[in-house]
Symmetry: C2
Subunit: 303 residues, 2 copies
């Protein structure tokens, strides 16, 4: 592929996405698999990356590979740095890690970010910083509130082109374990009015209380079902709405600015719907914009 400039790799816990990117940020080819870092046997990341690159169209072996995500964590290939917020593209570009590998390509890791909230709680991200910086480039934005929903939802504030702070919400993982491993899941059945019950859960999340109140509110998914106020098929979307609504309400300050949502289409739609009920406007951002950050980092670092 003649105009290829870079191989951009977004390697997370459960997915591996690779892109061949042109010098102007166009995606020339892509490859996606479920080989997240948890699925890599014996930590043989080099073998997986080599196989992945081999499945991309014929590319020059001099193309550098720029990787972001949990591949740079303690559980990944090599622990890359954490850069302290506020941090922008240039702050990351000077802290890239080069990975020694048997591949012919030069392989680099994007550092993660760390921060400390007003509550004194430290927080970290790996991968989302690259997604956000890519979105800023693609949307030509310098400021905004971003949410990256998922297993561990990240809410990040951007000002002057730099990520000034962020907080993680374990919403997706908590939802999954409540569904799969608690008494709430035992009542669940498929089908039914998912939309209406999701909205009902979001509305339930608007009830006031201290943080611990959530431990009570989630139980309503069971009791509403026991009392016949909620069908068994409504339990799952109700619980989903309750948790996502709770997250949004805790994370987003009410203001006139939109919340930028970066997620797959299903999850992005749920967050947009819940944010609307909470009273926020949202903009969905295309996840492919991440490659704009990989490219900008390579350019800034003269790679």
């Amino acid at each position: 592929v003649s105009n290829a400039r870079l191989i951009a790799v977004d390697w997370g816990t459960t997915a591996l996405r690779s892109y061949v990117v042109s010098a102007t940020g166009e995606i020339i080819a892509r490859h996606e698999s479920g080989e997240g870092i948890l699925a890599v046997a014996k930590g043989d990341f080099a073998a997986v990356l080599s196989r992945t690159v081999a499945q991309l169209p014929a590319i020059d072996q001099s193309l550098p590979i720029m990787m972001s995500g949990m591949i740079g964590s303690r559980q990944g290939w090599l622990e890359a740095a954490y850069v302290r917020c506020p941090a922008g593209l240039l702050d990351l570009a000077v802290r890239l890690s080069e990975v020694q590998s048997p591949l012919a390509h030069d392989v680099f890791l994007v550092p993660g970010l760390d921060t400390r909230g007003a509550d004194g709680i430290p927080d970290v991200m790996r991968g989302e910083e690259t997604q956000i910086l890519g979105a800023l480039a693609a949307l030509d934005l310098d400021d905004g509130l971003f949410v990256l929903p998922g297993t561990h939802s990240k809410w990040a504030t951007v000002s002057g082109g730099r990520i000034t702070g962020f907080a993680t919400y374990m919403t997706g993982e908590v939802f999954a374990v409540l569904r799969d491993h608690t008494i709430l899941g035992r009542l669940m059945a498929a089908g039914g009015e998912a939309d209406a019950e999701f909205e009902r859960g979001v509305n339930a999340s608007l009830a006031a209380g201290a943080p611990g109140q959530l431990l009570h509110q989630i139980f309503s998914a069971r009791t509403l079902c026991l009392t016949g106020d909620l069908t068994e098929s409504g339990v799952e979307p109700y619980l989903s709405g309750l948790l996502i609504g709770s997250e949004i309400r805790a994370a987003a300050r009410a203001n006139d600015q939109p919340v930028y949502i970066m997620a797959g289409s299903t999850l992005a739609a749920l967050y947009a719907k819940a944010a609307g009920i909470v009273g926020l406007t949202t903009v969905a951002v295309d996840g492919d914009s991440i490659v704009r950050a990989h490219l900008a980092l390579a350019n800034a670092a003269n790679i």
Copy 2:
């Protein structure tokens, strides 16, 4: 056993406790096993009860058996009634269910309670109402705030000898699934300064926020460990303190009255410690006082 009046059975999800009780409420004999209703194969509750009774000292087959707890739920032997709050001893005594069984003894089920909170959320209990009414009899109390910590913690207010309302917090079950099935558990190691880290978790729970803030706060068990601010052996007690503190802060109104804690000694000590940090005084109640309610119900119903 000549002065035996009743067999009192507290049959919950994970435990089965049986007592031979005298007419004055003394416990003459007891038997305890892990045969909670979840451990009973094919719903053969009659066989388990029969075996259990056979392990009590020789007793007259005319002794009635009074059972409370999840044995009266839809997943139990027979679904007993729910009585609406406010409810006291006499309200329950008129709604006992008799179970048809192959045993020579007459077998009765204590009904559960239901209520609807100020937030409109319905709530239910089965078994705790009997524990609370037993405690009122044993302590000669008519009013108070009770907590029954556990998988599903119950907070109940008592006024004029009747339970006026209550709320369930899924604290114990949420703690267990976070420990056993999420990324938080993967960092945990045994040993270490459990007391100090538990207290630290309780203090972290005092941070303000909407209910959804808990989804962020629990992540601090991971990030504090990653940043070296918390040892791996501190993760579990820290998370326990964070959740228990959050529950207490959401459930208890600050006032001068003590909170009555009904739990096994380990859990009771944790709740007492956390309540102290939150600024509440506590009284630990002996769990055996439950038989006072079984006895009073039998007397009131002329059984």
